[in-house]
Amino acid sequence: MIKNIKYIISLLVVLLLTGPAFGLSDAYKNNIYSPGELKPVDSVLNVKVGDKAPDFTLPSLSGERISLNDYKGKKNVVLSFVPAAWTPVCSDQWPGYNLARSFFDENDAILLGITVDNIPTLYAWTNQMGNLWFPVLSDFWPHGGVADLYGVLRTSGVTERALFVIDKEGIIRYATVGDINKRPELGALVTELRKLKGK
């Protein structure tokens, strides 16, 4: 009897903790895999505000190899690490940034979207989002190398949901690792971008 009650309790706890809500676009039909509720943060940052941002070079969807240093002295840079293609929150986040281009332009910033997925996967996934104005980079091989450099590679091999704002001098001005299960609010990023004005 006690065993049965324990089983029921475990089942109820699992039911209570699963099933987070996502504002999922119909653009993806039934092609989104839900990993369920995950540990909010599962890594420790290797960088902090005020540090020089570690340089990296990654292949992009357009075929170019893009380095962080390409933008030094020219553009502020926002790095948006999202955990994985074809998952609920990630599939919404970049289409929002795609619409919100004006906030990046107004603050002389480029956005670099990064995941650990390979290029063919990123190609198929981002095609559902429309024409993205920003480069999408693949941190697939060596697997999660750049994510690991910044300290946002989770033990499962995907990245955190992290944002870094890097100024034209290559200095990190904002670094946030949010709850992987939630989309970061746009207003907070815009506030940080606006702080770059005059720097």
Binding site: I9, L15, A21, L24, S25, D26, A27, L99, E185
Partner: protein, 189 residues
């Protein structure tokens, strides 16, 4: 021990029941009713007038002064909603220009998981004229079965204040004239 575990299980069941009464597993069905969706009375006087609301505080969707209320569930982050936004605007213009429908059919949008900042940005980006409301924590979205977006629900409000869902469908407006015909159909006008 058995008593403690039974008590704990019973408490969990109560919590589950509370959650399930708030979160609905399926979208509102035609012929049924809308869950209680409480929204803040807009600060903008033009929106208050459009919705026939006075003062501050909150209101429920069936309290809007109309025979039919169309609720658009969208997200600033949803590519289909972005593509459908100009179409929804065109539909609203046609609705507002129709002498029979303009005072009897009202349109509002609810941004699932969108903050006030995000709603405001979406409104400005597309020049949206009808009232939009934020649902930053997905509370409304959960109560209507976590529908994919865009999703449209329409309710018909009876004179005694009760209401009935007359339309509940996934997908954008796509064709404003066609949607207007559908609206005429379910509004009986």
């Amino acid at each position: 021990m058995k008593k403690v575990l039974t008590g704990f299980a019973a408490s969990l069941l109560v919590i589950m029941a509370a959650f399930s009464s708030f979160g609905q597993s399926a979208p509102p069905s035609v012929g049924g009713t809308l869950p209680k969706i409480s929204l803040p009375v807009p600060q903008d006087e033009a929106y208050r007038q459009y919705l026939g609301l006075k003062g501050g505080g909150t209101f429920l969707v069936p309290q809007i002064k109309a025979n039919v209320v169309i609720v658009q569930i969208f997200s600033m982050y949803c590519p289909h909603c972005q593509r459908d936004a100009p179409v929804a605007n065109e539909f609203f213009s046609k609705l507002s220009a129709d002498s029979k429908l303009k005072d009897t059919v009202k349109l509002i949008g609810i941004g699932a998981g969108n903050s006030d900042f995000e709603i405001d940005f979406f409104r400005k980006q597309y020049g949206i004229k009808f009232p939009l409301f934020s649902d930053g924590e997905f509370l409304i979205h959960k109560s209507i079965g976590e529908v994919r977006t865009p999703y449209f629900i329409a309710i018909k409000i009876n004179k005694n204040g009760t209401h009935k869902v007359v339309y509940s469908k996934l997908g954008g407006i796509n064709d404003p004239d066609e949607f207007l015909k559908i609206v005429r159909g379910f509004s009986g006008l």
